[in-house]
Amino acid sequence: MPRLSGSARNRPLPPLKRGTGRSPAGLEGLKAQIRELEGFGGTLAEAKRPVLPFGVAEIDGHLPGGGLARGALHEIFAADAGIATAFCALLAGRLASDDGSHSILWCERPWALDAGTLYGPALLQFGIDPARVILVRTRRDSDALWAMEEGLHCSRLAAVVGEITNMSLTDSRRLQLAAEQTGVTALMLRPKTERPAPSAAATRWRLDAVEHAEKAGPGRNPAQANDNGTIFQAPPGLHTARWHAELFRCRGGTSANWMMEWNDETGNFSVAAEICDRPPVPSAARLAG
């Protein structure tokens, strides 16, 4: 059952801790039964289903099993194309470096997100070896879905990423089943939609940029003079990238949202505690001009 994003956004942070030990045994049994029906085969802990930990306690503690389920379908909706792609690349890169096999199948549809094509050199920042990416370019959703399913049948891949505009519940079910069989993780990058149609994905995310707090006035930065003697405002440098990740559907878990900070130099990311009125942290050794 997809939750509306509005309710999830209003949820206070950090999310509610779910006390597993205190629940009555009957309820636990019922939950396990539901999870079995949902295709996870008992509770995640019991099934020892492999997960990909984010390495951030807040997120891992919230996700069932302590991380993003491997061998499952995850949907990432792109409120911002660049950030959603980065989130996908980050997850795919971690899956690839964890696995012995590094190959990734990326079904690209530049028309789906309308923000250009995947740029190989940038993938290195996410730990992805561009030479090990099989890039498939298709015009139709159906072809991309077929390619994804074929990729999921190949257990040698670390991850399958697809950029898909429209997908039926049946399609998502097929992908989820294929992913469960081989244990290959499927990531689906989808364009922004107001009301996403239901799908069988294990988690559904919405990735957006984090809006800046309104500034008090323009005089925050020291003015500089250039050769001509005119005065201008130099905008401050970029700090760590901040993403707003909203988990609006999580099978076996609840929805939540986080502010993530991603450091493109170290490849680490963390959850930002305070967003408003935080001084920007200029990252060291930026371009000197």
Binding site: G116, A122, A131, I134, A147, E211, L238, L287
Partner: protein, 507 residues
């Protein structure tokens, strides 16, 4: 005899214009069709045409093929019967040399059967009685020979070659030597022929999809065995399906990695078999490895896990290429170039020549340096011009309008100046992508020019064009936190309106 004479004798005579080109096309088609008997077939180009009475012929090299049909006699019967079945009256001759076969096919007194065989070692005797026209000579030469009483090929044999050459040129002597096998006569086959070939003919045409698929699997096994014996793996394959009506359906497939796995080779084609129109069935199938590569058995034994990975992924790439088209399944390779568009090249996943080492660029220092700079995750295929407001001379924009949206810039990094490659005279620019060979030529001419008149100075259009095409890239973040890669084209000059472009988005 003129047409008028002929019509006088037989008024209801039906005539039509000669169309040598159509004849040649038909011959080529028949030669193609004859691929069912031997992989090595060719239309006879020298010996066809009006000079030889309009009769065309086709070469078949049946070395080592006859036993598949139950001997030479059975093969010849099969060839003539099949050709009769698709509406051609054909005469066939089998001999040790092409020249002898050519002569025998035209100058044999056929009775019931339409074929003749000159047994091994009997060429000399067999053709001695045939007229000199059997040597594929021009009509004038034939007339000349007849004029001096040389009517049969046997008449030429005892003559000294030098006398023949003096009198009639080298043609007669050459053709005679070719017919007798004293001089080799190469004939090039119509289709590329390789020894890695498997074929199967059926007594009755088969039409069921399962039967065809099963036959293809059998052929794949056969071919895989042949390849294994030679230590090779197939890279390109052709499957030819011969229909009883004389048409041939051909399917091509490539593998991204040399393979001789029978199941893999068969799967390349079984997926495509539904495209084959098999209304009248198929009476022969041939599978050929047109391109093959060394694939030593040791490769499979060493480093097993890695090899398996490669194989699994390569087979996936093949499968995707078959359905989606080879050009849509790509592989990225980093290039040594500081120009963003050139830093990455895509190549067909199936055209990969060898497995790529894990990370070849990490050792390349200049490449590494350029890669340590932040690059957008998604690059627009073509930079899009935006209306930007930016302080002069070289500051990032404070706002820009792109795709009808206004972006107010809060943070910016840069600039990173990316200049065109100086060795390209400012021509190797970012929009005007030159092909590699063009770049090479550009290099050559540039050197020549500067060497002659102005050694040491920049080439002609140098400074201004390079300055115009320099790009100053900024990473900017707008108020909503979205990050873009924008650049200003050219160096600031007072009075000129700078052009700003968006080139990519960051994560």
């Amino acid at each position: 005899m003129t047409l008028a004479d002929a019509r006088a004798i037989l008024p209801e005579l039906r005539t039509s214009e000669a169309d040598p080109e159509a004849d040649n096309r038909a011959l080529t088609r028949i030669a193609d069709w004859c691929g069912r008997f031997s992989p090595w077939t060719a239309p006879d180009e020298d010996g066809a045409g009006a000079a030889f009475g309009g009769a065309g012929s086709i070469w078949l090299d049946v070395t080592g093929c006859a036993h598949l049909f139950g001997g030479e006699d059975a093969l010849m019967r099969e060839i003539t019967n099949r050709l009769a079945g698709i509406g051609f009256t054909a005469y066939a001759a089998l001999a040790d040399t092409p020249g002898a076969a050519w002569a025998a096919a035209r100058h044999t007194a056929y009775k019931r059967k339409h074929w003749t065989i000159i047994r091994k070692g009997q060429v000399r005797d067999a053709i001695a009685a045939m007229p000199v026209a059997g040597l594929r000579l021009a009509p004038a030469t034939v007339a000349g020979l007849q004029g001096v009483g040389l009517r049969r090929i046997g008449d030429l044999m005892p003559l000294p070659r030098t006398a023949l050459v003096d009198r009639f040129g080298s043609e007669v002597a050459d053709r005679l030597d070719q017919a007798l096998g004293d001089r080799p006569e190469p004939v090039s086959p119509v289709a590329l022929s390789t020894p890695w070939h498997a074929r199967r003919a059926f007594a009755d045409p088969i039409g069921r999809a399962e039967d065809i698929a099963e036959a293809v699997r059998g052929l794949a096994r056969e071919l895989a065995d042949t390849l294994e014996a030679d230590g090779l793996g197939a890279r390109r394959l052709t499957l030819a399906l011969y229909h009883p009506d004389g048409t041939i359906a051909r399917l091509e497939a490539g593998t991204s990695r040399a393979s001789r796995s029978a199941t893999h080779l068969a799967r390349l084609f079984t997926a495509k078999l539904d495209r084959i129109e098999a209304a009248f069935g198929i009476d022969a199938i041939a599978l050929t490895a047109t391109v093959s590569e060394k694939l030593s058995p040791a490769q499979a034994a060493l480093d097993r896990r890695h090899d398996h990975d490669e194989a699994g992924v390569a087979e996936l790439a093949d499968k995707l290429s078959i359905r989606l088209g080879g050009e849509n399944v790509m592989q990225m390779t980093l290039q040594e170039s500081h120009i963003p568009e050139r830093a990455i090249a895509t190549s067909l996943a199936t055209a990969r020549t060898r497995p790529v080492p894990a990370a070849p660029w990490r050792s390349g220092s200049s490449l590494q340096r350029s890669l340590s700079r932040p690059r957008p995750l998604r690059l627009l295929s073509r930079p899009e011009e935006v209306e930007a407001v930016a302080p002069v001379p070289d500051d990032p924009p404070v706002m820009f309008r792109w795709r009808k949206q206004v972006f107010r810039i809060e943070h910016a990094d840069g600039p990173e100046r990316i200049a065109p490659e100086w060795w390209n005279d400012g021509l190797g620019l970012l929009e005007t992508e030159l092909a590699d060979d063009d770049v090479g030529r550009e290099d050559g001419t540039g050197e020549d020019g500067t060497g002659e008149d102005s050694a040491g100075t920049a080439p002609g259009p140098g400074p201004s064009s390079i300055q115009d095409s320099i790009r100053d890239y900024y990473r900017v973040e707008d108020r909503r936190g979205r990050r873009f890669w924008v650049y200003r084209e050219g160096i600031y000059s007072p009075g000129a309106q700078p052009h700003w472009y968006v080139h990519g988005v960051f994560g």
